[in-house]
């Protein structure tokens, strides 16, 4: 398991944060996801095999953009 911190752009309401959580949660190998509208950050617990690309795509699928992955 690794802990990933995402900076996400474009979220402006709480259903946005919920959408991102749902979308990321669908990636196989992702455990706990917590996205905050307040800090515009998402914290993801994921398997080693989950790639940055998959995370970016999941966020884009919900309609938002990842600006930074740590």
């Amino acid at each position: 398991m690794k802990k990933i911190k995402l900076s996400i752009e474009g979220m402006h309401c709480s259903s946005c944060a919920g959408n991102v959580e749902k979308s990321i949660g669908k990636i196989p190998g992702v455990g706990n996801v917590s996205v905050s509208l307040m800090t515009k950050k998402g914290f993801v617990d994921a398997d080693e095999k989950v790639s940055e690309e998959e995370l970016r795509k999941a966020v884009a699928r919900a309609g938002y953009r990842v600006t930074k992955i740590e």
């Binding site: 709480s14 259903s15 979308s23 905050s36 307040m38 950050k41 998402g42 914290f43 699928r61």
Partner: protein
């Protein structure tokens, strides 16, 4: 900054939208209220459509686009509702040319403008909620003055490397974490620890980046840079906390996630229901729009996170790091607060408490200090500190007698310092001192006896003293209804003395480190337990407690150990953390109540056709503003 950009963005849209919406409002209301037409009737709808176009499709474009996305990705959000409501309203204007329906396009523009206004206010208030953490980010120094060869040069903070020697002048910020290698000064660490008193720093003292040097010049060797510094750790921690969930939030989150699709369905049902029963297409459209725009997932979804953000930010400012949202909720169930003794209730370092001497006290301290200087023992350090000698006497034949004391020669005099056991072993008489020794020991103090040439000169009592603020804090906690307990490995007598002086109600003494968990479990049979410890030796006990509060001691804090971490070692933080948690949780409950109540009342009213779409939109904007503003009111708590 990102947040500021967002605020400016909404503000620009707000100005643009209202420039076009105000004329629309004048046209509409002059006609409705005064039966006075500025234009001939047939020009009215085209005028409103032309004026309304930029409002909805230019200034509201982001909302329309974001909302429309929801309809093909099925990730609906707030925008989907507003987009649908305003676009339908606009289309009704076009259709009204053919006399199908009434013209609601003006209302659509107004809804968009009010929505944008609400968002602007909400974004601003959200920015305010995160102000503490943003201030933390700005705390860091921008530049550093370092020694390079023989020169002093100023460099950008990002170019600083580990091992660089930084020069910190009075009044300046210490650029990064490091160790003092030359100089001495008082440093104001309040922005990090919440501790208002300046801390004395001398050679070898660790210093924290972003704290302010007050009066002397410090030469500091950088030990940590960039993301590894203490300040960065605190910022990361607070950010993480603000993304954690409070258990009470679960229901609100579940509702938020299905909220938009549910409202879409409810609004469609209302539309068809009204149409079916009344055959009034205009009323049906009005209700359809009203239901779409009144529903507010934002107030629901923001209720908890915003209060948590304000609460954790306020804590961070005072050196209280709340690591888990859950702790805030559990805190209100806590009945017993258990403290570790050493380093938590007490200072953790022995200090000289009493000196009883048959010779001059200065002389006693001089010989004691000179001998103990050669020892590394904790008690020796306390004596050296108390003696505060500038010059030490030369000691010959120095010997450490393990577990008993030390001996050595100063000039022609043979000095022995040790416990009663050692003194008796050396067959030195304690006559005239027994009473004092018994008294000190009954107070839980360790007594060191100083003898010269086989004759006792005096005694020095050493004890791990109670922190200055302990009594006040513990009495307060008792007063507001908590049961306080202390868990310690000390013997019953010493522990009881400490408990008596600090106001602790219950003592659990003679506890081996590995049994602390068991003792906490026992306490838990009587109610939820919060445990306060140092986080290094107490990690398992902290884990067992319902809420764990780990005390820091300056630079190295065991951040992982506690649900709540106190940066400074002051017990005042314990009381503050409890007050803050409770206040934050109260806000969370209030916010959830308002958000639920609002939606539960407003949606049926809209479905029943009792709310005009514009009133509905104003109510929606107000509901999320209320929640955000209410959270910011948490700052009133001291």
């Amino acid at each position: 900054m990102d947040e500021d950009f967002e605020i400016i963005n909404w503000r620009n849209k707000l100005i643009g939208a209202w420039i076009f919406t105000i004329p629309i409002a004048i046209i509409m209301f002059s006609e409705r209220l005064f039966r006075m037409s500025i234009f001939p009737e047939e020009f009215m709808t085209p005028a409103i459509l032309i004026l309304g176009f930029p409002v909805i499709f230019i200034f509201g474009w982001q909302t329309i686009r974001g909302g429309a996305r929801g309809f093909y990705t099925f990730y609906f959000n707030m925008d989907s509702l507003i987009a649908l409501g305003t676009v339908i309203a606009y289309i009704s204007g076009i259709l009204s040319f053919y006399n199908f329906v009434d013209d609601y396009s003006g209302i659509g523009s107004m809804i968009m403008s009010i929505f944008i206004t609400g968002k602007y206010i909400e974004t601003k208030a959200r920015g305010k909620a995160t102000q503490e953490i943003r201030k933390l980010l700005e705390f860091g120094a921008k530049k550093a003055l370092i020694i390079k060869g023989k020169d002093e040069i100023e460099i950008e903070i990002k170019d600083l490397k580990i091992g660089d020697i930084m020069i910190v002048k009075p009044g300046e910020k210490i650029p990064t974490d490091g160790i003092v290698i030359k100089g001495g000064s008082a440093v104001d660490e309040s922005m990090i620890t919440g501790e208002s008193l300046a801390i004395e720093k001398t050679v070898k003292s660790p210093v924290i980046g972003a704290t302010i040097n007050q009066d002397g010049i410090l030469y500091v060797k950088a030990t940590k840079i960039g993301n590894d510094t203490f300040l960065s750790h605190i910022i990361q921690l607070v950010e993480e906390t603000q993304s954690t969930k409070v258990p009470i939030q679960r229901l609100a989150d579940k509702i938020t996630n299905i909220f938009v699709p549910a409202i879409l369905i409810i609004s469609l049902l209302s539309f068809f229901g009204w149409w079916f029963f009344t055959k009034d297409i205009n009323k049906s459209i009005e209700i359809f729009i009203a239901v779409l725009v009144i529903a507010c997932p934002c107030s629901l979804g923001l209720a908890v996170p915003i209060a948590l953000t304000v609460g954790s930010g306020m804590g961070a400012k005072r050196g209280i790091l709340i690591r888990k949202g859950e702790a805030i909720q559990t805190m209100k169930e806590i009945k017993i607060i258990a403290f570790d003794k050493t380093g938590t209730i007490t200072k953790g370092k022995p200090e000289v408490t009493d000196i009883y001497s048959k010779v001059k006290q200065d002389y006693l301290l001089e010989i004691a200090g000179s001998l103990e200087k050669l020892s590394e023992h904790q008690i020796a350090k306390a004596i050296i500190k108390r003696a505060g000698l500038k010059k030490y006497k030369e000691v010959k034949n120095f010997k450490i007698l393990r577990g008993r004391g030390v001996e050595g020669n100063i000039g022609k005099k043979k000095i022995v310092i040790g416990n009663t056991f050692l003194i008796k072993e050396k067959q030195i008489s304690l006559r005239g001192f027994e009473e004092k020794i018994n008294l000190f020991e009954s107070e839980g103090k360790t007594t060191m006896i100083i003898a010269e040439n086989g004759k006792t000169l005096g005694i020095i009592a050493v004890a791990d003293v109670i922190k200055d603020e302990a009594k006040k804090v513990i009495n307060y906690l008792n007063w507001i209804g908590y049961k306080t307990a202390m868990i310690t490995g000390d013997n019953e007598r010493t522990a009881k003395v400490i408990a008596k002086h600090s106001g602790i109600e219950e003592v659990v003494a003679n506890v081996l480190p590995e049994d602390k968990v068991k003792k906490i479990k026992e306490l838990q049979n009587r109610g939820m337990v919060a445990f306060v410890g140092d986080g290094i030796n107490d990690a398992p006990a902290l884990k067992q407690a319902n809420v764990s509060i780990a005390m820091g001691t300056g630079t190295d804090i065991a951040i992982e150990a506690g649900d709540i971490v106190l940066v400074s070692g002051s017990l005042v933080g314990v009381a503050q953390a409890i007050i803050l948690s409770k206040a934050t949780f109260r806000k969370i409950k209030q916010n959830l109540f308002w958000a639920f109540a609002y939606n539960v009342i407003a949606i049926p009213l809209a479905v029943a056709g009792l709310l005009h779409p514009i009133i509905a939109e104003i109510a929606m904007a107000l509901s999320s503003i209320t929640v955000v503003t209410n959270a910011n009111l948490l700052r009133k708590v001291k």
